[in-house]
Amino acid sequence: MELVYALATGVLTASGVWLLLRPRTFQVLLGLALLSYATNIFIFGMGRLTLHRPPVIRGDTPVDPSFYADPTPQALVLTAIVIAFATTALFLVVLLALRGLTGTDHVDGREPDA
């Protein structure tokens, strides 16, 4: 499970960075989105990967931390998802504005001289 998880994070990050360095604004947007996905599952992984362990402590069982998943990274991921979603939407608006103002989707606002 760890290997698959690590590979997924790595592939997402690599794709994100590659897209981030591309010249078209939409590619940059997707790159940022992929990077934020990679970051989110990385945060989640930092709470240790466990199976069949609830994050919420139940009153009727003895409280032993090893029976429970760490709830903090899950809460952090939720916050990070919301923030990344909002900022990506904001980036999208600016992307459209640049497209409207310059008539091109190049990040420099003009086509490179061929």
């Binding site: 940022l32 990679a38 970051t39 990385f42 916050t79 504005a97 640049l98």
Partner: protein, 539 residues
Amino acid sequence: MNVLLQHLPVLPVVVPLVTGAVMLLVRERRRRTHGALAITSFTIQLAAAVVLLLLTTDTVRDVWTEGIGVYRIGGWPAPFAIVLVVDRLAAMMVMLSATLGLAAILYSVAHWDRPALPFHALLQFLAMGVNGAFLTGDLFNLYVFFEVLLAASYGLVLRGLGSQRVKTGLNYIAINLASSSLFLIGVALIYGISGTLNMADLTQKVAALEPDDRTILEAGAAVLGVAFLVKAGSWPLNFWLPRTYAIALPPVAAIFAILSKVGIYAVIRVSSLTAGDNITTTILDEILFWVGLGTLLAGIVGMLSARHLSRFIAYSVVISTGLVLGALGLGIETLIAPVLFYIGLSVVTTGTFFMLTGMAERARETIVARNAAELTAPAPFFVAYGVADPDPYGIDEEIGTAIPAAMAFLGLIFVFCVMLVAGLPPLPGFVAKFAILAAVLGSPEVAAAPAWLFASAVLLSGLATVITTSRIGIRLFWTSAARRVPRLRLLEAAPVALLLLAMFAATAAAPVVMEFLDATAASLQDPQAYVRAVLGGEP
């Protein structure tokens, strides 16, 4: 009264939040209402900051133990819930941001705030993020406040529109979103190895870590540091900064003067709390020193090539970042107080200087014409969304009375600002730089080579400042072509003059200020008081 005192630390965050929210409900046409709300909000913030500052010193005893106030949100005990912590450094930075914010608001109500709605509300949210970042005692909460201030700054950069601004804004947003990912990765690594996000708790956990685990922690701290350095605008991560600051409207750029210092503040705070006595900090210090030196040199080169005033000031921000990072990297204890003095000075100076550009550049009709042409170009996107085309350069219908001898006033302020940035006597800029250089060269702890390297870079930056400003000043004030005397409004001129006066006052009261800063530096050297205050007396 006690309730107010108890909730005082959260006021600098809550007041702008509520004000900003209320502003969203007020029609954007009612600029006076917006302006009044904004001024009230910043006045309250400033008052709160002053009281907080007094509470952290010895003038008011017995309210906070050891002069550190802790606000536990929701009343939960410290390591589990988010805390706001007011120590001397935090109080000082909040005070700076409130002062600058108030000045920028006064300046902008003269005619920069049309349409009022996004401008004033965004400025409030920006202030909320900045104050929150200074006050928070929790790493993830720091991330959230960073995002708040960045989201507001995205909107403010775009203010005035035009394809140049939108293009620069796009790059600015992309860079900051990417560095926010780094921030999160760093925070996650630190949490994964130490199991805590509370900075005070972290200080204890770091000291108790196994040597094997330290590697991961240091990796996390390094990733986090890169994110901070991007925000601080340090070379080689600062190519976005001069362009963004130069293209932003003057009041916006003035507020941005504090943004890069938020990154520096985060570096100081986190390194103070996680350092401890070990060999790794010296390696980190060394990296910081070379980064700082690189930033200084990059700033000098950029500054010499600057042709417009706003560009020049943007590069002076880069230079001040380099100076601070380089000085911190030298790792001399006696250097911290002068560096803090320099940070405060440079924030106010840069803010004042940016406000000056708005008034001085208006004298050059060519620039106004160029911007006007750009603004009247069709922008179908904004028409489609029913947003009125903003007209930041509209000169008609200004508020307030005009002041006489406008050019003389501008020239005087310009000379003062130049002397402050360059560090020429007898102004406080000289005092700050002299104190830093004296500490660097007089300290036996530092090897001669880095000390002299740093000192010459600092002096060189002063020279570059003088050369560039002479060139720009001649172009701006002495060439008569295409110039008319700008009509200055009292509301615009007063905050600029007041900021300068405040700086002179701070210099005149130097013994008091330096005593405070020495105490601040001492508390940064020994974070145990901070830890005790936050964790509530636990060992």
